[in-house]
Symmetry: C2
Amino acid sequence: MTETYNDSLIADTMETLQSNNYNIYFNDALAEVARFIEQGKYSRFFVLTDENTGKYCLPLLREKLGDADFDLIEINAGEESKDIDFCIGVWKMLIDFGADRKSLLINLGGGVVSDLGGFAASTFKRGIDFVHVPTTLLSQVDASVGGKTGIDIDSIKNIIGTFTQPKAVFIDYEFLKTLPARQILSGTAEMLKHGLICDAEYWSLLKESDLSQPTGEMVYKSVAIKNKVVLEDPHERNIRKSLNFGHTIGHAVETYSLINDEDSLSHGEAIAIGMICEAYLSYKKTGLSLDELNEITDVLMELYPFYQLRDEMNDELLEIMKKDKKNLSGNINCTLLSKIGQFNIDNICTSDELIESLQYYASLN
Amino acid sequence: MTETYNDSLIADTMETLQSNNYNIYFNDALAEVARFIEQGKYSRFFVLTDENTGKYCLPLLREKLGDADFDLIEINAGEESKDIDFCIGVWKMLIDFGADRKSLLINLGGGVVSDLGGFAASTFKRGIDFVHVPTTLLSQVDASVGGKTGIDIDSIKNIIGTFTQPKAVFIDYEFLKTLPARQILSGTAEMLKHGLICDAEYWSLLKESDLSQPTGEMVYKSVAIKNKVVLEDPHERNIRKSLNFGHTIGHAVETYSLINDEDSLSHGEAIAIGMICEAYLSYKKTGLSLDELNEITDVLMELYPFYQLRDEMNDELLEIMKKDKKNLSGNINCTLLSKIGQFNIDNICTSDELIESLQYYASLN
């Protein structure tokens, strides 16, 4: 018997999800890690952390692993660590530690750790096994599922990467309990996106909930939505593009902020801005009603701090958008909505349209 | 009607081979490149060359491509260009040229160009299409087929890479006609290996032929052998390991020479040494007869220059072998022969055994 509402939901409803040849564990997920290693017949294993997860999350994992012996690879916290130079550092440590093809890499951390660790593992000796133990809400509901790995070059996000599935994902609600509010909200943006692109009911539930404390059930629901989408289209040929809603503009604003701001935007804060802009484009181009645009705008503006977009930034933002992986033939490509709960992919947007949407956001102050 | 023996063989027998979801073209292969691009609906294409193939081979390709517009990426010739730093250079050029996910990379060159280009393409924006146009005998009979891509870090060969199939391979005999003798012999070593591991008749044919001028038929035969092996075991779980015969010691000698010698050994020269040593280990461990050991030794010593191995080199050679991808649990792993035409995988060799085999080679002077 558990005592809190959240925990009882976890215990009652969160069955293991089947993904692309791997399992996503929810119940007592950290204990599952130990079982997985035992059954995996690995020659050895390595844990990749950042300085924060090394401090706050590794002890929880260590407790479950008992006497198991492993080497630790630690990177700095923050998006800067996704640069190719850090990836080379991880490769060199695997070499120095004598990792072989039967080694396992456990990525214990947020999206930077899982994206970078997944890429490093998927290319080390042409590929060793890896699993994700996501420790932030954002990485639990987004990065850890779907088999995308990636690193940055010259601050271009995920410009280099592979599609490689982890061997398992372990989503432990325990980690969320100590996260700062800003990190929780960073993940909430992706959860709201899941509702907006394909589940109006889930969107309604979320907007009426206290999103500073998402329940285990909500996390599970978001992972289930994302898993369904990526299972159907693992290589992003069609419906997986739905997950890019808010991300063409959001990624650009995030990159801009990373380069220019001392205290840069979180992923979720940037994606929230992107979703408002792209909801505006949806209203202009793909039939989203004015009422729904206003509803989306209100919910997101209520949750996320306002970020001052100025006209002088437009050129740089457009330049970043032009380098986006999702583009074809030099055209900037957005996933939009036709209504709440229904996405519309492959919309080419002109510079003028994109700027108008940025100005819409700027006018909300 | 053609006039030379080689050319008529090419015309009569060299049908397109089917590999792992791609074709290997032999007849009029360069013209096939043009047809492939036309049918591929690519947004654009890029050609990767080194300074030599840019000078000697690109004009032949250009002739077939007509007015087609492409951007050129050129690297220095030589194994040093397989370092991660050069790979980053290729990625940055693809970014600067505005390559998108529908772009095609054509790797025009030897094994360095195809290994590096294949890796760069397989990871750029999580993977763009690439094809190989191998211009050396070595790359025609070895690197271009099988879907291995790879780059080096700290002179550790292919320590980073992926298994990614090209979309096509175009093997044009024309390129071989202008190759220097030493480069031809570098490729011949791999052809001899194909005979040794699985076709005694082919080995007999080769040892009685003038290997300074392998025929088109021989090239075709070697590609067909390699293709059969990699089709059956693309990820090197079992029979593909047969192709590693000569390579545990050969790679170590090659790496040693690359680091220490002004005029370093070619791949084939190093692999010939590796095959002699590993034939000795086969005689000691897996039942190769003394007669066959002597036969292999004689053929290879006749073809390749003697390289002075000294006892002082052993520690460094063993150190390099220990970092070999093929090892498991710290043990050095060799593919050996039980007789000519029959391989035997996963033989763990002790340092003493390996040193003894190096001394066997050294004694042949």
